[in-house]
């Protein structure tokens, strides 16, 4: 039986390096792979690309209710935006993470008040539950859903659920802490290699369709 300290030291030490190498290396590989595919069969894509229309498209779609489809689905829009914001804000600004950075490299920055962080965590978990229910209930989503979609949802939800339990020292703090670190690392490592890769590709696919609609089709894409 490995003791807690050994496991903790491994997961928060070497494993963090491994995680970031896989996450960053994998991400670079995926984008490089995509660009080489463009060069192989789709060089015409370069003739479309436009900063202006890429940004026009991205700005519309990262603004809540700025597109027709966001307006058509208000609940989904709120849930999506809150969830994704929580997903980015929480790991960067939660005090426990900043303390770790401070301990390792003596750097720190503004942190979320603990109460607020707790609320955001709960909101993200609620969002995940809504995503889960959507997959179960909405016909058009259920039809498309595969097992991997639940796995991905679980991967995304796990750091929040485990973090929440760890913060509240639910039964066994150490257990949840280990699971929390592990699930965070799994999520980062999964990004380049699962459908979570939309984090990397969304900007590219949006830029392409935005450029095509703006520069070639002279039409809106929202």
């Amino acid at each position: 039986m490995i003791d807690f300290n050994t496991l903790y030291n491994f997961l928060s030490g070497p494993m963090v390096w491994v995680t970031f190498i896989i996450f960053i290396g994998g991400s670079i590989y995926r984008i490089w792979d995509l660009i080489s595919l463009v060069n192989k069969n789709e060089k015409f894509i370069y003739s479309y690309m436009s900063w202006k229309y890429s940004l026009r498209s991205i700005m519309h779609w990262i603004t809540p209710f700025a597109t027709t489809n966001w307006r058509k689905h208000p609940v989904m829009t709120v849930v999506t935006f809150v969830f994704h914001m929580g997903l980015v804000i929480m790991p960067l600004f939660i005090s426990a993470h900043v303390i770790l950075f401070n301990a390792a490299w003596n750097i720190s920055w503004w942190v979320l008040p603990e109460g607020l962080a707790d609320v955001i965590t709960l909101i993200v978990i609620v969002c995940c539950i809504i995503f889960f229910l959507r997959r179960l209930v909405l016909r058009e989503v259920k039809y498309l859903t595969t097992a991997s979609d639940y796995v991905i949802l679980a991967i995304a939800a796990a750091p929040f659920v485990t973090g929440f339990f760890a913060y509240h020292k639910f039964i066994d703090y150490h257990f949840w802490l280990i699971l929390h670190i592990l699930s965070g690392e799994i999520m980062l490592m999964a990004i380049p290699f699962t459908r979570l890769t939309h984090m990397l590709f969304a900007v590219l696919t949006r830029s392409f369709i935005g450029s095509e609609f703006g520069g070639v089709r002279h039409a809106k894409d929202w």
Binding site: L144, F201, I209, A219
Partner: protein, 441 residues
């Protein structure tokens, strides 16, 4: 409604799909799918399949989904799942029966109208994926019969309707002669080198609707245009080969079209009121040939009429009285942003214009375009029933006349108004312009 749709599907027998799929072996299917996937697709397909999170937000973009009682298998992502998604997942190891179904889905349940690209948060282009399915099915020889016949016509005659070369010229001369009854010195100048523009049309015009060429001739002669039409192949800008996935024939036809204009030394090509042809010459066929944009500017009729009216070259005697509504064709609106020009033209010609909703880029598809109507009689009932939403949308306007500057939209909506008993007539812009303009004696 979903049940009804399933009933219809089961009844449809298409000889092209039946005979084509019977000749397949699983080895050939696997080979062809993988050849197309690795040799002809790339970053788009890869990023689309890896990015789609199955959120279902594309569903409401699709008129087929909406019309078939929100049956999820008709949503854009649903159609991807039933076709290319499965081919990729199974690395091409799918059955002939699967290919037959995939061909029917891609050719008759999707108009490649790209409305869903505007509804996907990632901008995933489902139309492109359906076109890739059609390409695979073409390479496997499993394409609906009637559109395949049309692709053959393109291959032999460089036009869509098996119009023979003498029939084409004869039709122009006949229309010229007829129009002289109305305008005694009218001309349809053939092969006039150095004219300002070449006028190109789709083959159904000489074949079935020569009155459209007549009207165009009256408009151009009244406006004092310096124009010409080629007496040789290249006059037809239409393209069903693009929609069957026979990209080599598509390219050959586009080469004929642009080289006809180049040979005639015209500065631009004006084309009639057609949508899919515009897509082919402006965005698809030209690119296959390595022309990143049309080598000679392509002006759609909407833009041309807009210029004529703006410049006062066509004057309106009295505006059209009946109430009209505007159907925005996907290929020139979502495909070229001509919706405001279209409105300017219609408002110049008509007194009472009622907008349908949604409109402009968000307009619902006619369900005829993208080669769907060209798949012919076997699929007609399904095609019409899978656009009930369109019938609702147009009848809500209460307009007497529907104007749409696209042949496929025309034919598709003729079927819709007749099937759903919508009290409405459909016209081209040129029908109205011809009626209300001041003409020379």
């Amino acid at each position: 409604m979903a049940e009804a749709s399933e009933k219809i599907e089961k009844k449809i027998i298409d000889e092209g799909l039946e005979t084509g799929s019977k000749r397949l072996t699983e080895e050939r299917i696997e080979k062809v799918i993988n050849e197309v996937l690795s040799g002809e697709t790339g970053a788009r397909l890869k990023s689309y399949t890896d990015t789609c999170v199955h959120c279902g937000l594309c569903a409401e973009a699709c008129h087929v989904y909406l019309s078939f009682n929100r049956d999820p298998k008709f949503s854009p992502a649903g159609k991807v799942k039933r076709t290319i998604g499965e081919m990729i997942k199974r690395k091409g190891r799918v059955s002939p029966e699967f290919i037959k179904e995939a061909s029917e889905i891609a050719s008759t349940e999707c108009n490649v109208c790209k409305r869903c690209a505007m509804y996907c948060p990632f901008g995933i282009d489902t139309a492109y994926m359906m076109q890739t399915v059609r390409r695979i099915c073409h390479k496997l020889g499993v394409t609906p019969l009637y559109i395949q016949d049309t692709a053959h016509s393109h291959a032999v005659t460089q036009n869509q309707m098996w119009v023979k070369e003498d029939e084409w010229i004869d039709t122009l001369q006949w229309q010229e002669e007829d129009a002289r009854e109305e305008m005694s010195n009218l001309r349809i100048p053939l092969d006039k080198e150095g004219a300002d523009f070449m006028y190109s049309v789709i083959a159904p015009e000489p074949k079935f609707q020569p009155n459209l060429i007549y009207q165009a001739a009256i408009i151009f002669n009244t406006a004092g245009c310096d124009w010409t039409m080629p007496s040789f192949p290249g006059w037809d800008n239409s393209d069903m080969a693009m929609f069957t996935g026979d990209l080599e024939i598509m390219a050959r036809n586009k080469r004929f079209h642009f080289e006809a204009a180049q040979k005639l030394k015209v500065k631009r090509i004006v084309m009639g009121e057609c949508g899919h042809a515009f897509r082919s010459v402006y965005d698809v066929g030209n690119r296959w040939l390595s022309w990143s944009m049309p080598p000679i500017p392509m002006i759609h009729a909407i833009e041309f009429y807009y210029d004529l009216l703006k410049a006062g070259k066509i004057k309106i005697k009295e505006k059209y009285k009946k109430s009209v509504t505007i159907h925005d064709p996907c290929n020139v609106v979502r495909g070229r942003g001509l919706h405001e020009m279209l409105r300017y033209v219609i408002h110049e010609l008509c007194e009472n214009v009622i907008e349908m909703h949604p409109n402009r880029e968000h307009n619902y598809c006619c369900n005829a375009g993208g080669g769907v109507i060209n798949c012919g009689p076997p699929f007609k009932k399904k095609r019409v029933e899978s656009n009930r939403i369109k019938a609702d949308q147009i009848s809500d306007t209460g307009a007497e006349i529907l104007i749409t500057p696209c042949h496929n939209c025309h034919s598709g909506m003729e079927d819709i108004i007749s099937y759903f008993n919508v009290d409405m007539h459909i016209k081209f812009i040129s029908d109205i312009m011809y009626e209300v303009m001041e003409k020379q004696e």
